[in-house]
């Protein structure tokens, strides 16, 4: 980023303005001063109200929706991050989000945030850089491991590369899991993201550091705290082998028509972001009308006509989502494959992975969609 740009950006926009522009409060609570988002547009509150049965719709309708609410039941509260996270980490995370919480299906979406904007946002959320601390002694690390296992911290926390993973939750487990369980970070990231000076307080009395903390208070002894801090900060991490990539299965020989694509893919994974405004409280969603800092591509995925009508390019001209990119892949498929890459830590330039911030389509779903496209998209 050229220096003049940086200066310009620093002078021109404030943190709160950027929060409003990117609509961070559409998912996160705890952003003081951010303009409130009505529940009809709030990606997390609306799902939570439906889950609690308090949304303004007939009870039986809400009951029908409930089993389908999986991915975005919770997002981390962002209040009092100041004494908690490192600004350098937040800045990097906003530019290239990683999956911090393996149990939570949603991730922080990739937003069109520029490097100077990420710097401003990080400053706004968490303040100045932190003070480094001396490295813990190896004997303490081992002691910490013993406490960690004894206290059952792994009930909620993954610690990739240090402790064996537990595999993904089943959908029933996902639906019933508590916020604390789903929002517990993978501790492999903690040493780079958390302020080292915050760790002892976080373990000793979590709610002293942040009133909204979900982490249980174990009333640990000072020795236990110090050993656990050592274990979290310095346990040697062995690189975890990458999961085998999802493959593209051969095309189906049976006929695939649009109603199947609509219910199994577009309605299931793309709704609320590529919506019909008249069926979504006047909002076509970020991928259609715009939102989350995106201008909107005018792409609705609600019916055959909308899907055929495509989206818009950067100049605002309509273009087909099936038109092949230079390598022959239809644009739609390229966005879905890009999400798989993002999940493996790789960003595809110029192509935002879809569904944005949510798990990539599984192999059978992509196969279905590719088969439908190759059959000429029957209605």
């Amino acid at each position: 980023m050229p220096l003049p740009h940086l200066l310009l950006a620093l002078l021109a926009v404030s943190g709160p303005e950027l929060v409003a522009q990117f609509q961070c409060q559409r998912c996160h609570d705890g952003l003081a001063g951010a303009p409130p988002i009505p529940v009809e547009r709030h990606c997390v509150h609306c799902h939570q109200e439906i889950e609690a049965g308090t949304f303004d719709a007939p009870a039986e309708v809400q009951a029908g929706w409930r089993p389908n609410l999986v991915s975005l039941r919770f997002a981390p509260d962002l209040s009092e991050l100041g004494g908690h996270l490192r600004p350098e980490w937040v800045e990097g995370f906003l530019l290239a989000p990683i999956d911090l919480r393996p149990q939570l299906l949603a991730t922080m979406p990739r937003l069109p945030i520029t490097p100077p904007e990420a710097k401003i946002l990080a400053r706004h959320l968490v303040g100045p850089p932190s003070v480094e601390q001396p490295a813990p002694a190896p004997s303490e690390v081992e002691q910490g491991r013993v406490h960690f296992l004894r206290l059952g911290c792994g009930e909620c926390h993954a610690y990739s590369g240090v402790l064996p993973g537990r595999g993904p939750l089943s959908s029933a487990e996902l639906l019933s899991a508590s916020a604390a369980k789903l929002l517990a970070p993978d501790l492999a990231h903690t040493r780079t993201r958390l302020r080292p000076e915050a760790l002892p307080t976080l373990l000793q009395t979590p709610r002293k550091l942040r009133a909204k903390a979900l982490m249980p208070d174990y009333t640990l002894s000072p020795e236990e705290v110090s050993a656990l801090v050592a274990f979290v900060r310095a346990a040697p991490i062995t690189p975890v082998p990458e999961a085998p990539p999802k493959v593209r299965l051969p095309l189906l020989s049976r006929r695939v028509s649009f109603p199947e694509i609509k219910t199994k893919i577009f309605q299931k994974h793309c709704r609320h972001c590529h919506a019909d405004p008249d069926k979504a409280f006047g909002d076509g969603g970020p991928g259609n009308a715009g939102g989350l800092g995106y201008a909107g591509r005018g792409l609705s995925l609600v019916d055959y006509r909308a899907v055929q009508s495509g989206g818009r390019d950067d100049q605002g001209r309509r273009r087909s989502i099936f038109a092949p990119l230079p390598d022959g892949t239809p644009r739609l498929i390229a966005h879905l494959l890009a999400r798989r890459e993002e999940e493996r830590g790789r960003v595809v330039l110029g192509i935002v992975g879809m569904p944005l911030g949510l798990p990539s389509l599984d192999e059978a779903e992509l196969q279905l969609l590719e088969s439908w496209i190759s059959q000429g998209r029957p209605p």
Partner: protein, 179 residues
């Protein structure tokens, strides 16, 4: 019944902005969001079933729709039905008006071409519209291809348009247009 289609935000804004009397008046005339979406869905079904007169009967004398989007949708359905009932100029004029707001809407363009294709002087424009939609891979449905096939002189292009129509049609007979 806010959950159904409701522009509850619009309602909220309207409630605060509109003078009480005007609001009461709107309340009296306009359909609720549920009513207008049900009406539009029924009309759309008639159109799909090849019953354009039923569309006109249903929509011509109804009160205000609940939102401008529903209003536009009504105008669109009436315009297409008019074209299919032979009132081509009227329908074409209405579609052009709708296209002023969204000049590149592929569906409206294809229906405009359908109308122009039936008019005396519009065939060249209709052909240009449909060829462009085809090139851009933005043809909204089988019918667009059927009209294109009819406008093209018999030969390779027309055969290809029929083939594309058949790929997108629920039944092949949709691709042999009577005139």
């Amino acid at each position: 019944m806010r959950y159904l289609t409701a522009a509850s935000l619009l309602t909220a804004i309207a409630t605060t902005l509109a003078a009480p009397a005007a609001w009461a008046c709107m309340d009296f005339e306009a359909l609720s969001p549920t009513e207008s979406s049900q009406l539009l869905a029924a009309a759309e079904k008639h159109l799909e079933d090849g019953q354009p007169q039923a569309v006109i009967d249903l929509l011509a004398y109804t009160p205000e729709m609940s939102s401008w989007r529903h209003g536009n949708k009504r105008m669109e359905l009436v315009a297409i039905a008019s074209i299919r009932l032979g009132k081509v100029d009227r329908g074409v004029r209405a579609l052009r008006a709708l296209l002023r707001k969204t000049p590149d809407d592929p569906f409206l363009l294809a229906r405009l071409a359908e109308g122009l294709g039936r008019s005396k002087h519009g065939k060249a424009e209709a052909l240009a519209i449909l060829e462009r939609l085809d090139q851009q891979d933005l043809m909204p449905d089988a019918l667009g291809y059927a009209v294109l096939a009819q406008l093209l002189p018999a030969g390779k292009g027309a055969t290809q348009a029929v083939a594309r129509c058949e790929q997108r049609a629920l039944k092949k007979s949709d691709c042999t247009l009577g005139s």
